[in-house]
Subunit: 266 residues, 2 copies
């Protein structure tokens, strides 16, 4: 177990664990079993979108594990969720069975309450199990994906429109940088605004690229970057990628990190 995050407002717990592939599905089933027994979505309230007591289970490759292994694990886990706990399953991300289910937001739109009446719609039928929610535990999104990077850049202005405009300029959905989701927020207590991002594939668009783009866009508007913020963890190869880009060192490799070499020798 390497990370647990929970808070009252979201009323939701995110558990991150690392396991050998052969043990990962059993471990995830152990967690899902407790969640199914203890959580009743008919009485659950929280700010975060959700459709299941076990809401979303992404299998993420660590180090050199191929994505195909994580896709297989997702499908094994999804089949067991339905068979053993009677929770219907939607596959998303790299594990999606339908192209329109690649994005988690699309799978989960409307959450438990909307899915209750719409699960029989042709486009919302689960990938595992019949078109019927588990009465208390709802349904689960099961996926495979590379690690996301949550990254924010704070700007020295109180003008929210600057952050919103820059977010729109750089986000993939408005034709900006690929694999970037971005929104503009106010940090009212600090008199700053923030461009808040998810980098959904750091191999395509990494931190340095979005930092430089935002810095340049801000400069064009006469605004300076105050600081940036990497939220949670990033994989070592993403860190190596930032250095490659920032100091133009295209040949820099992960095994030039001393600790990586030492750990590999153990």
């Amino acid at each position: 177990m390497i990370d647990v995050q929970a808070d009252a407002a979201h009323n939701r717990m995110v558990v991150t664990f690392v396991a050998e592939p052969a043990l990962a599905v059993d471990a995830a089933m152990a967690g899902a079993t407790v969640a199914t027994e203890r959580i009743d979505l008919r009485h659950h309230r929280g700010e975060h979108p959700r459709m299941g007591a076990t809401d979303v289970v992404p299998f993420v490759p660590f180090a050199d594990l191929p994505m195909s292994v994580c896709i297989d694990l997702a499908h094994d886990f999804g089949a067991r969720l339905w068979k053993e706990l009677h929770v219907p399953v939607y596959y998303y991300g790299e594990a999606a069975r339908r192209v329109e289910r690649r994005e988690l937001e699309k799978v989960r739109r409307g959450g438990f309450e909307e899915l209750f009446t719409h699960i029989t719609d042709a486009d919302r039928v689960p990938d595992e199990g019949p078109p019927e929610l588990n009465p208390s535990a709802g349904a689960t999104a099961v996926g495979a994906r590379i690690p996301l990077i949550a990254y924010n850049v704070n700007l020295k202005t109180s003008d929210l429109q600057v952050a919103k405009d820059i977010a729109k300029t750089i986000r993939a959905s408005s034709g900006g940088l690929p694999n970037v989701k971005a929104l503009g927020f106010e940090l009212a207590d600090r008199g700053l605004v923030q461009v808040s991002m998810n980098l959904t594939d750091y191999r395509v668009t990494n931190i340095w690229k979005v930092f430089s783009a935002i810095r340049d866009e801000a400069k064009r508007r006469g605004v300076e970057v105050e600081a940036s913020e990497i939220v949670g963890t990033i994989p070592l190869d993403a860190a190596v990628g930032v250095i490659k880009d920032a100091v133009v060192e295209p040949a820099f490799r992960m095994d030039q990190i001393l600790e990586k070499r030492v750990w590999a020798a153990e």
Copy 2:
């Protein structure tokens, strides 16, 4: 053993190994014993400065090991080198017994040949053993230090003077950036010049700072950076430091590297 480098021109082998502190001195003694038996400096030729068959042995802290442990290891090892192999020892770096011996270059100046006649000079008397070289194995510099970073920046010009001028501007000894040694070289076969550096304390002056300084100095002279080159390994906290500086992320911590967290949990 995590790295071995040797080449004919230098006629010299650099061996890097990682060990628990309790085993490090025995391991280093095993290597020094073979070197003392097999290498006779009276018949040795090579481009690199050297004064001993076992020329220099730095103890470098890994991860969270305090420097004081490495200083103690250096002194234990130095005492054994003299007692068991009859090789006199000079302590340098953090293990120096005299302030003027902190710099390895000063300890080793003139090499074996010069030391042969000057070891009895008041300022060249060894820290372990009498003022007399081991006839075939010379003397050894034993130290403690943080990891050095070897870092080069290539410039898109064939004008060697540009590299020499910039090297002079940024190096510590001419009043530039602290803990930076820098020289200008020609990369004749590529039509480029290079500022070649050793960063002797990346906690004070790290890669991003010298990269930015060189890029700006080059720009003032109408020259662009072609690329940069990190030679060998850098510690993970130096990599984290580059990211902190490059994207203005002062709160970024080593345990935000996913692998670091996973390895720490094992």
